[in-house]
């Protein structure tokens, strides 16, 4: 659910990073946080366990610049990846404007990726969204690891609709901003389209 404020001249949108446990969702946000100018970001909040696993969500508000005199602000959220936190994942998808699926490229995580993708589709449907319609991009993370599966294999398993996809090494920052730019572009385009139809 985007929020357009004519008074403060702001367009606010909500983006959610989804994916299996330890795929690098929080790492994406941490990199964005460190590379964003202080005046363009708020505080990053991580509701995590003592072992630094995401318990509820991470939250990072960033500002991307102006369009037609309106400041564009994006609220970035991650979900907890571990399977048993499904109830929490559903809550975080509420009011989402765009989704980034972070896949773990390691071949041994293929099953976990597929399971998480199916879980995303189901949970979105419960909120009344279709994964085929909502702004959606995929990031293949951990490309630097020796056990990384070939891109073709990941694409075959995770990206049948051929949505925009990016290779990444989030820990080093590779691909992180490409992914973010792609989803923000899709979200703004969708907003424009949606408003034209009304």
């Amino acid at each position: 659910m985007s929020f357009i404020n004519y008074l403060s001249r702001e367009i606010n949108c909500k983006l959610v990073y989804y994916g299996p446990g330890l795929c690098g969702k929080t790492t994406n946000l941490q990199f964005i946080y460190t590379k964003t100018a202080p005046e363009a970001k708020g505080k990053m909040i991580s509701l995590a366990t003592e072992q630094e696993r995401t318990l509820f969500f991470d939250f990072l508000p960033i500002s991307l610049g102006e369009i037609r005199g309106f400041r564009t602000r994006f609220h970035l959220y991650t979900v907890p990846g571990q399977v048993f936190y499904d109830a929490s994942r559903k809550l975080i998808l509420k009011g989402v404007d765009g989704v980034i699926f972070v896949a773990d490229s390691q071949i041994e995580r293929m099953e976990a990726n597929i399971e998480s993708m199916e879980n995303l589709r189901t949970n979105l449907a419960e909120q009344g969204y279709s994964l085929d319609k909502i702004p959606f991009v995929i990031q293949y993370n951990k490309r630097d690891l020796p056990s990384a599966a070939p891109i073709e294999e990941l694409r075959e398993a995770l990206n049948p609709n051929r949505v925009p996809e990016y290779e990444a090494v989030a820990a080093k920052g590779d691909g992180v901003f490409d992914t973010l730019k792609a989803i923000t572009k899709l979200v703004l385009t969708e907003l424009k389209k949606g408003s034209g139809q009304q």
Binding site: R68, S88, K192
Partner: protein, 159 residues
């Protein structure tokens, strides 16, 4: 597909007036209003040294989690929450299942007073947000989004 929240000057002024009056009448430190997805809509009181963006997001997370618990217990919603600290207390009220009204107060006020004032403010806010929703859905509204071009969106990333 996505219900949009839009804020215009007229409604914002009405909302801000309610929020500012609530600060005074409830002897509160801070009052703010958050959309259910975590976006801050309005705030009043001593907000200068307060990270209202973070508070807004956490409040919405809190309401979402409580709503999830409610559904498991076959309740519709738990519309009110109260957290008591040593110095600060926080009262959270779901208004019309649409927005969240948050009141932060200290020993200068009391839970009873806050609850009483929140009740009246909730009714007023409900009316305002209902009118706002009707306005947003009306076909002849002036919409900045329709004027955005693809080039505008591309330009956002050219720097």
């Amino acid at each position: 597909m996505n219900p949009q929240m839009v804020m215009y000057e007229e409604e914002f002024n009405q909302i801000q007036a309610v929020v500012e009056r609530l600060v005074k009448e409830a002897n509160a430190k801070v009052v703010f209003i958050v959309a259910k997805n975590g976006q801050l809509i309005a705030a009043a009181g001593d907000t200068e040294n307060l990270d209202t963006t973070s508070l807004a997001s956490l409040t919405a997370g809190n309401i979402a989690a409580t709503g999830g618990m409610a559904r498991l217990l076959r309740e519709n919603e738990f519309a009110t929450q109260y957290h008591e600290g040593e110095k600060a207390n926080i009262h959270i009220q779901l208004v019309g299942n649409r927005v969240i009204l948050v009141v932060i107060f200290d020993a200068r006020s009391s839970l009873g007073l806050v609850r009483l004032r929140v009740r009246r403010a909730s009714d007023e806010l409900n009316t305002i947000f209902e009118a706002l929703l009707n306005k947003v859905q009306s076909p002849d509204r002036n919409d900045v989004l329709t004027e955005i071009t693809d080039a505008d969106i591309d330009n956002l990333f050219n720097d």
